[in-house]
């Protein structure tokens, strides 16, 4: 297992189409991370083993993505005191409303920091994870400031034609 501060766990292989945007953003910032598929319902034991090993290998934050009755982030949160960031996937008939509520409405005591539905949420989970790591890492702070500067420039260079 690689050393990585951020682990992206998703409930289904099909979530990768969206979550690779989180991974791409971290890659672009040169931040070691790993993306894996584990299901809270189909592979709970393997998920928990992965988490144990991951925490021995430097993990500090989990990004957890799931659709429908998206239990993955909450189930992971029940097993660790590391911060969990949840990303609702827009799979199924309800377009992610089910996943959003299943992730954000956690009972008191077991928090999941929830981001928006789909690709926006995936990117923001990566950025929030970096902002947490940046609390102790000036290089990461610099990367975040650089990222914000670039996106500001992108807005300012918009052309309406």
């Amino acid at each position: 297992m690689i050393k990585a501060e951020i682990r992206i766990v998703m409930g289904s292989e099909s979530d990768w189409a969206v979550m690779k945007e989180a991974s791409a953003l971290l890659k672009e910032m040169n931040i070691p991370h790993e993306s894996v598929v584990y299901s809270a319902h189909r592979t709970p034991e393997e998920l928990f083993s992965y988490m144990e090993e991951a925490e021995q290998n430097g993990t500090r934050i989990y990004i957890a993505a799931a659709g429908m009755a998206a239990h993955l982030p909450g189930v992971m949160a029940s097993k660790t005191i590391l911060p969990i960031l949840g990303v609702p996937m827009a799979s199924g008939a309800l377009q992610g409303v089910d996943a959003l509520l299943s992730i954000v409405q956690m009972p008191p005591g077991i928090p999941v920091g929830t981001l928006g539905i789909g690709a926006s949420g995936a990117k923001n989970a990566a950025l929030l994870a970096v902002s947490i790591l940046a609390l102790e890492n000036a290089t990461y702070s610099e990367k975040l400031r650089e990222f914000r500067k670039k996106q500001k420039e992108k807005v300012l260079s918009a052309r309406l034609t």
Copy 2:
């Protein structure tokens, strides 16, 4: 641990105010059952131990009740092949819509048979559990028919004043 074919598990002590209607209905029908509190997030190990022991003591059906991001029924379903009946509680700001979606929208492969929100769902979970047991138990079939007869009579004796 008592021998009981039906186990009612709820995620919080406060759910009992609603779920005791399921228990009362089973009691009225003289069907051995047990009601307990375990949280999918706060006491996962104890929940799983309880389930193991319960299955060695004759459990055939679980009724699982939870509110908000109601993971309990789905988490239990991931650990057993016994039928799980889920009851969404109307706790919190969203009046049980969150719990309903968190229970019913399970991903393919791990089913939860979901009943309505709140007290109606609690009663119906009890009745559906009995109807499952009644497949092999003529006494229970008789009790169900008796119950239906009584509720028919109750409707027919309604007085509008």
Copy 3:
């Protein structure tokens, strides 16, 4: 009429595109079942005749699928004490929210065990039906365990590229 423990009833021929996933899963598990179309509103008498005959031919569980104001599962539940599993179809403008509420929010006394909207719900209805039959059938238990093993392997073999 064939002997079959599970009967899949759907309200419209167009539901078959989704419900055949339930049938395929049962076929794969080698479990005798029958799929038919009856409408609660357009063919109530024929529906009730079918149910009577079906129950004389070994039916133990119904899976009932319908869209929009999906009354089929509830109407069937009013005519039998056998367990009914309801599957909301995502037809129409509301993407199955109407069907979900029309199925799951049954009044106290007449339960329908509800699964998720669309194909996920269809598959889960089949699996829940098998788990009920498995209470008295060790072969079915074995099949369920086998199914879970396979889906676990499928998750574990996911490749993110």
Copy 4:
């Protein structure tokens, strides 16, 4: 059974608290009608017998009120070609959204003319029923015009203090 052109059927005795507003309005207009309780799920046979007898006794329109998975209006519609007007009750956690969708989203072929949730819908069902009867009854037309005149006066005499 009395002779009456309008029959108000409700699924539960508790709906009377709301539906008596429909009855009161008809009474005020001196229009023969009858209010009864029949459940689509608990007393389907009695419901159908009632409808048969009612139609032999001059019934021309049904007003059907139900809450939650409100199947009553649709089930009645499947048994008659008389016009059915449905009124969703706001019972349960979802405040009548479930009942509204369960009544209005009928599949093509079996119509239910749906009114608003709760007391407003109850009154409007009575008025719509009268407007239908008024097509052949000049006295009823007159009563409707009188009603409209009165409610106009009520608005015009509003005092803001």
Copy 5:
């Protein structure tokens, strides 16, 4: 202006793609009707003139279809005591939920009998209109019974392949 008992009014030319299903059904039953476009907001005077003339030419029922903040049925209802049947169109981002609520939630005193969203509602509006006319017209009753028989046969001839 032709003599016709049923007038289909829609708020926008684009609604015709859906509402022609109502017209086709009436045509199939050989029932004189007229379909026109008037907007409650853009052509209120012309709408009211049309209604006046229509009522002098035998109109007995209006079917009114509109999307988004669908005021057309309610505005027409404020001008007549004839029965109004409203059909919500699924135009715009909200898929007809806005239109459904804008039509069905009329304040007490001015009723609109509301049908389902889109094509199902369009067909059902036609059928409900015919069922109202059938109260005084045995030929129409016969047509309705024939229609029901045909749709029953269609369900019974469904083939699942």
Copy 6:
């Protein structure tokens, strides 16, 4: 009729409990206005007469409040080119969601500037109306700036105990 630049029209006397907050705010700012009750459905002619007279008496902006299928703002908008500000009332089972959609989702061509549900929306309608008048009235600008200053001070003086 008084001379007044702002007219507050509400669909029902009961809306006054909320809309008097708009009136109070205007009064506090010493801005001439009038509050009246007219229903789009029950008193359309009187509403239109009022609007005609009002526009001859200096009206420049309408604030229109209504609940449920809230047609009042849109119906007024169809009769004038003056700006209409709509305020959804939270009456009925749906807590103002119906009114919000009935007001804001106007078809293209007939705009209504919509404010939030209930008392917040009432106050904001008053403030937006003043901001429009302030375009040509420096005294009103001053009052708005004063208002903002005061509300800033209120926030800054908050005490958490």
Copy 7:
């Protein structure tokens, strides 16, 4: 910076596909306006500088469009006492419901006049802006009356084929 009474600000370049309908309508009416992209979150300082300069160059009304957690209109409203008209964009999984609520549900004290979701709202924002300017500009009043006349003619010339 050009002199212009109306400024259309949008949060993202991609909103232009919708908002150009507002611009086109203003162009058609020959009303000076400017369309720009500024993000409330990514370029707040530049947004505020733009607003300051704009107000020195004759701006009287802002049209602000944004999607998802659409803060742009509210953030602008916090910086000016000029009227702000907000247009929710239907971007993302929730089809603009999120943007609608984020714009319309402003707290008391800081109003945003909200139009419908997407292109209808864009056009209506332009028209409402013109109706505000028309309070002091007879040419604009004339243009609005002309516009209404044309859209009336368009409705009256609808052909159903």
Copy 8:
């Protein structure tokens, strides 16, 4: 200004009734923090000054709570690269759905880690903040493990009577 790693900012004094649960939990864990009221709309400059000073005084995480069109967390996120945790308040007619969507559906680039609506979310925001600080603070880790142990014991000691 005190030295504190966590700052709780809320948009209105009335939010304190809920947010004091977050503060109480932090107090119980003996973690320095400060609770203040600043409005994104009414006091933006003061908010930004506060944030600047706070970041010079050791702030590492913000908890931001707001109701309705809850812009506070997003507006704060636009001004800092520190992690922001957002808590939707259930104020107003929509019971916090508006606030939830206004906080969680942030556009890509500016993340807010969102917790559940109301008191549950308030407590979870405090816990998530501590879990972030605990990445570099073994005492805090210990406190979190202690907290989890206590809440486990509370569940296990539930009594159903």
